[in-house]
Symmetry: C2
Subunit: 399 residues, 2 copies
């Protein structure tokens, strides 16, 4: 009987707590709230916190990521949260509701910071984002960062720049006080969203090699060097098809795919995970923010000679009602014309463009192809020249 | 000085009638409402209706398509329309308004029939579509045809099947009466949307070869076999990258691209039009209807061994509010696993999926790639397994 060990999420409705029973019907034993203390790769034993030892033929590590903390005094105070799993969100929501919170501070302006700023603001809570830089989501071009900043402002989310956090103290008017280089700010909750790192304690303890990213090294079958041991999801590396590097990009769709590949191979199938191209997106109030491939810094680091262009176009034909502004940036290699990366922001159609370009990058297309792609044209969905064509042809002329 | 001869559209606001002046500033003489009677390819002369003859070094034929008529008695009556240019739409709108029309009949259930049924219905006019088949838009799978039919019904557009038109007569309660094998129906206007054919009179008269599609044969530079003579747009053929055939697909984005290629080459550049993959879409009330590549019949005719699957998925993660049903059909070759075609219908995200798949087909990807494409994942925009992945993996297992 195969085992599944982990802290299966119990949400407010306890729906998922029924998971063990559901799996048992399929002959799988699921143990929730079960801590693995140690793994013995020689005897092939998983030792649990209570002392029990379970033998394995195959072992899949899916230990995920853990949020980083700034490492400042008081960060362990009640009311200071990080977001990793659904239960964290439930705890946060309960805290905000039960204590009738009126003010929240989010430290960090990446994906989690942005998505949570919308979620918390939409509860009617005064929300501020504290960021060590000057513009949110630095993966995107500063032009897009400015637009995202405007979107935060339009929804009255505060944004404080160039922040270094120093301490969390007890507040006077609110529960907590955050001390920074910019002063002292009180709030009823603080969300630390300053970064994440792969959770690799068990992997290290059992002697598995980690990549230079800090995540577990795997091959295209999701196998580690130890016989029968696989790693999948945020704790494992992925092959980036553009840079040719093994990278650590913790995203749910990648984890899903890797899990299917590991399971298929353990079940006797022949499957590989063909890698990623770095596609990602998030929603921020009315904006779609999306990217794929490499940004210019990564392209340089990978040995390419990047050139880029940023065009402002339209999500639909200009004549259509409901037409929205769309920004699209393309990055290509000067030597070969190969498309290396793309970024898009807009109220409509940004994710759609990025998915088309993700496929182009996956297939290794160059600007000569991307500039003439046969996209489905109809005025409600785009112009006869899509921003994709316009940007690709502009960048082609440039290089 | 280069010439541009054609019936430049004059809309109600006469905006475009200013085109000749605008072009003159660039040294281009535009003649509108000017009929070309004959072209002499030996003397390189364009003879106009008034007798004037203009010499040319380069000639671009962009004569477009013309709508077919059913060829029945009375089809020339006032109130019977076809739709080719903006002026046709303006004439129709004026007719509907000035005569306070209450009932309209559309003959034909292709693109034009569908789009016009929405446009006319939205004016509050009782609208019926008469179709020779049983389901609209036969390019799409019957499952999708049924959904489109439901959408017409939901918006109270009538749909009459298996119709053969016989005559148009004067009506009693309404202006016109349409006689068909199904009976007699009155309406204040009738739109004939039964098909189109390339307008090639001038091309034939000057001795240019036509393809088996009936459109003008061109090469990748948009050149015809006659020195200095180009053809672009609906009157010219395009290379279909999947079937390897030269086809006639009259769409505005293709025409735009071909025009740019011809212009670039005439201007001394080196440009080619790399062909199409058959992408197309339209909006029908709340539905997006889109397709790319070959359908099964075309795939068979092109020598492939098509297999297909149709999956019902979701436009966003199932947990998201506003999530909509999305149908996706994929067609692939049994011998190679190569993706040959795709169709999608849904209230949201159908065109987006088809554009991604159009890029996959353009690049010649197979199901092993399409099933693992790295798409930008976030719950508001899709599940971690997108319908694209689900359909591609299902079809892969099937073949």
């Amino acid at each position: 009987m195969p085992y599944y060990i982990g802290d299966v999420i119990k949400d407010e409705k306890s729906l998922i707590a029924r998971t063990p029973e559901k799996f048992r019907e399929s002959g799988i034993e699921v143990r929730i709230d079960t801590r693995v203390e140690e793994i013995d790769p020689v005897k092939r034993l998983v030792r649990l916190a209570g002392g029990e030892a379970l033998p394995y033929d195959f072992l899949v590590l899916g230990t995920g990521m853990k949020p980083l903390m700034p490492g400042i005094p008081g960060e362990e105070r009640e009311g200071v949260f990080t977001l990793k799993r659904l239960t964290d969100a439930v705890r946060m929501k309960t805290w905000l509701r039960d204590l009738s919170c009126r003010k929240a501070i989010i430290v960090g302006a990446g994906f989690i910071g942005m998505e949570m700023s919308e979620a918390i603001r939409n509860l009617g809570i005064e929300t501020q984002v504290f960021h060590r830089g000057t513009l949110p989501v630095n993966r995107w071009d500063p032009e897009f960062g400015k637009w995202i900043l405007e979107e935060l402002g339009r929804h009255r989310v505060g944004f404080v720049t160039n922040v270094e956090t120093r301490a969390v103290e007890e507040g006077r008017e609110h529960r907590l006080r955050l001390i920074t280089n910019r002063g002292e700010d009180e709030a009823d909750m603080i969300l630390m969203a300053v970064g994440i790192q792969p959770a690799t304690e068990l992997a290290r303890q059992m002697g598995l090699p980690l990549g230079k990213t800090g995540a577990i090294r795997v091959n295209f079958s999701q196998r580690t060097p130890q016989e029968g041991v696989y790693a999948v999801g945020d704790c494992a590396e992925s092959f980036h098809r553009v840079s040719g590097q093994w990278v650590s990009i913790p995203l749910g769709d990648i984890a899903n795919k890797q899990g299917r590949v590991a399971g298929g191979n353990i079940g006797g199938g022949k499957m590989i995970f063909p890698g990623i191209v770095g596609s990602q997106c998030f929603k921020l109030f009315d904006l779609e923010v999306a990217a794929t491939g490499l940004d210019e810094r990564e392209a340089l680091q990978s040995g390419f000679h990047p050139a880029s262009t940023l065009v402002w176009g339209n999500s639909t034909a200009r004549s259509m009602p409901g037409n929205k502004k769309l920004g699209l940036k393309l990055i290509a290699d000067r030597a070969t014309g190969k498309l290396l990366g793309a970024q898009a922001v807009g109220e409509m159609g940004a994710v759609s463009r990025i998915n088309t370009l993700a496929c182009a990058i996956w297939a290794g297309l160059g600007l000569d192809d991307v500039g003439w792609l046969d996209l489905a044209y109809s005025p409600p969905f785009g112009g006869s020249w899509d921003p994709i064509h316009i940007a690709a042809q502009a960048l082609r002329r440039q290089i």
